[in-house]
């Protein structure tokens, strides 16, 4: 595991460690010291910076690619009908 060195600055990590930490980093789930190490790695490593940026963009694009279903009027009506049988009183 990555830790800080004696001087308290983030330890240097390799591309492999950065890749392993990719999604934990993007999701903000890393301990602070590890997060700092990953941050400094991608600041100084072009390949990893590019990979992280790409992964970040894909994650950002996912929600708009799967939009909400809209009002689903027909289905809602169907559901309400089936609930009425159970005693539901539509307002």
């Amino acid at each position: 595991m990555t830790t800080t060195d004696e001087r308290g600055s983030p330890a240097l990590i390799e591309c492999e460690a950065a890749a392993r930490a990719l999604y934990d980093y993007l999701d903000g789930r890393l301990p602070m010291a590890t997060e700092a190490s990953v941050y400094w790695h991608i600041e100084t490593c072009r390949n990893c910076a590019s990979h992280f940026a790409f992964a970040r963009r894909v994650l950002d694009l996912v929600p708009s690619a799967v939009p909400l279903a809209g009002e689903a009027h027909a289905l809602r009506a169907r559901i309400v009908e089936s609930l009425k049988v159970e005693g539901y009183a539509e307002r």
């Binding site: 963009r57 894909v58 539509e90």
Partner: protein
């Protein structure tokens, strides 16, 4: 609480979540007609057990849990769920990094600016097994925490994490493949001249 008040609360908290439940069910079932059936069954069960719902709990999360149980029951006799909790999600990430480097060298660079991303993501999600798709929908689309997703799916947080990692990796991979199929990138980069 009167019956009328009970039903009003059901409207405000449960029926109001319908678009989210529909989206979730469609991601699970991958068949809109089946998804609608799942949603209807979900609401029926939710209504019957509405009295047990704790005030202040997250109704949407509760509905996702019911919906997934309905779905699992539905496909009980189909292929069993692939449990990937034992797999090394971190190694997957490593492979993704290597692939990313290769793809970039073969002209990937601005891939996301050059393809229609939304359809590419939808078809990529359609292609991955349901357990991965569900993790992505809960965390990346609905914005649930790993912990909340674990609660909905009834698995440990570590399993959510590894499913999510793998799903995202498969998603990246599919985007590359989509770009290759669309003739946007060549992989691997062919050596020598005459490639234009």
């Amino acid at each position: 609480m009167t019956e009328l008040e009970r039903d009003a609360a059901f409207d405000a908290q449960v029926l109001a979540a319908l678009p989210h439940v529909v989206r979730f069910a469609r991601a699970l079932a991958h068949d809109d007609a089946l998804a609608d059936d799942l949603v209807q069954e979900t609401y029926l069960r939710a209504y019957r057990s509405w009295a047990t719902f704790r005030a202040g709990a997250d109704a949407r999360r509760w509905l996702f849990t019911i919906c997934r149980n309905v779905y699992l029951r539905h496909r009980e006799r189909e292929s069993r769920v692939v449990d990937t909790s034992g797999e090394d999600a971190e190694l997957e990430s490593l492979a993704a990094a290597v692939e990313h480097g290769q793809a970039e060298r073969s002209g990937l660079g601005d891939l996301l600016d050059r393809i229609e991303v939304a359809p590419a993501i939808r078809s990529a999600l359609a292609a991955v097994p349901e357990v991965y798709r569900t993790a992505v929908i809960l965390v990346d689309v609905e914005g649930e925490s790993y912990e909340a997703a674990a609660e909905v799916l009834g698995v440990p947080v570590g399993t959510v994490r590894s499913r999510l990692f793998r799903a995202r990796r498969l998603l990246q991979q599919s985007l590359f493949k989509y770009a290759v199929d669309a003739g946007i990138v060549r992989t691997p980069a062919p050596p020598g001249p005459g490639a234009g």
